[in-house]
């Protein structure tokens, strides 16, 4: 798309070649506004490489069309820049909108804690070791410490009772969110399926109040309490 230097190898460049031919004719016709070069380049820009036929077609209406084409292109460029600027500002303002930041943080809390609650209610005695490691991954603070202290106890218990548990989140809502402190409280209702060696897997409902904390790896559960009913 860059303009070629005047002396160029004829054989290797057919667009340029025809351009030069036209240039010659143009000059003979009065040396005026003949711009086959422009056409050639414009066609290059449009990705077309049609050669002589197109060139000649363009040559017919050249004197009027060319400055107009340039003006139109300039106008389109200005409009494109304005549109880009407008969307750019829209992006910038969306990224710096306090409300939107809070809304996104809220959605992040819901997504992270929802996944964490499922993880925390999932264990299979056959994969207990990695399941309990997952518990540690999704918890922090006091709860995280307690769980890591009790790690062996949890493993022994799961092995002893041959526990298999899974859960899904039925309802979840953030009741408090402090973005500065990076803390949140939530209310959650879980459908839990729990089975042991002695009991068939049975569904139950678990209502929980949850405290969450923001960490370097997203939001984690720092406390969880069952609501007595």
């Amino acid at each position: 798309m860059t303009p070629r230097p005047s002396p160029r190898p004829r054989a290797s460049d057919d667009t340029g070649d025809t351009g030069d031919t036209h240039n010659g004719t143009g000059e003979q016709a009065g040396g005026e506004v003949t711009t086959p070069e422009d056409t050639a380049v414009a066609e290059d820009a449009a990705g077309a490489d049609e050669g002589v036929a197109a060139e000649q077609a363009a040559a017919g209406e050249r004197p009027a069309a060319d400055p107009r084409a340039l003006r139109m292109l300039a106008a389109v460029a200005v409009v494109a820049l304005l549109v880009a600027g407008w969307f750019g500002f829209s992006w910038w303002s969306a990224a710096h909108d306090d409300r939107l930041e809070l809304a996104r943080e809220r959605d992040t809390v819901v997504a992270d804690i929802s996944a964490a609650l499922v993880t925390l209610h999932t264990i299979d005695h056959r994969t207990a070791r990695s399941d309990v490691d997952e518990w540690l991954r999704v918890t922090t603070g006091k709860l995280g410490e307690d769980l890591s202290k009790d790690r062996q106890l949890q493993l022994d218990r799961a092995a002893g009772t041959r526990t298999v548990a899974s859960a899904s989140v039925r309802e979840l809502a953030v009741t408090e969110l402090d973005r500065r402190l990076g803390t949140a409280r939530l209310l959650a209702v879980l459908d839990v399926r729990l089975g042991t060696r002695d009991t068939q897997p049975a569904p139950s409902r678990s209502r929980l109040t949850v405290q969450a904390q923001r960490t370097g790896e997203g939001w984690k559960i720092s406390a969880v309490q069952a609501v007595s009913s």
Binding site: F87, S90, W91, R106, A173, R207
Partner: protein, 175 residues
């Protein structure tokens, strides 16, 4: 030839640059437009993000839940009046069914029930509609049975609709 060729070449350069500008600007517009849209997607739901609106719907729904789930066997009409004031749509029937049973119990056992909202989360909030999750504590006093006290908790999914500044509960589901 050199002068004309030079002018043409300059013009060619300008057009090429303009074409490049157009392509780049269009690309930038599309990219930033998509980014902005993604960033704004969360903003349709102003729960917590708009603290004033969130507090207001929380305040009104908390008051409504307290008033419709608290009763005194001596003055059941008060609770019914409250229900008429704060319930609408589907919730009227949902509540009516459960309250009919509660009323009979309340008269028989001379019950006084006090309900408080322990915690309330606004899950989604727009100008017109709110979805909430509420944790209720209920203390029931059996005045006919040595003032024996009973406590219970309940979690409710609540839908509320804004009718000219007043949030009316349109759906109540225990979960």
């Amino acid at each position: 030839m050199n002068g004309a060729g030079g002018a043409q070449r300059r013009r060619a350069t300008i057009m090429a640059v303009l074409a490049a500008v157009i392509v780049l600007a269009a690309g930038a517009a599309v990219w930033s437009g998509l980014q902005a849209r993604q960033l704004r997607a969360a903003g349709d739901n102003v729960a917590l993000a708009d603290p004033v609106a969130t507090r207001e719907v929380t305040r009104q729904v908390t008051g409504a839940l307290k008033s419709i789930f608290s009763y005194d066997y001596n003055n059941l009409a008060r609770t019914e009046r409250a229900a008429e004031r704060v319930l609408a749509g589907e919730a009227v029937e949902q509540y009516g069914r459960s309250f009919a049973a509660a009323k009979a119990q309340a008269r028989d056992g001379k019950l006084v029930r006090t309900t408080t909202v322990r915690s309330l989360g606004v899950r989604s909030l727009t100008a017109q509609r709110a979805h909430l999750l509420a944790l209720l504590d209920q203390q029931t006093l059996h005045t006919a049975g040595n003032d024996r006290q009973e406590s219970a908790t309940a979690v409710l999914v609540v839908t509320a609709e804004n009718t000219g500044g007043q949030w009316k509960i349109t759906s109540l589901t225990s979960v």
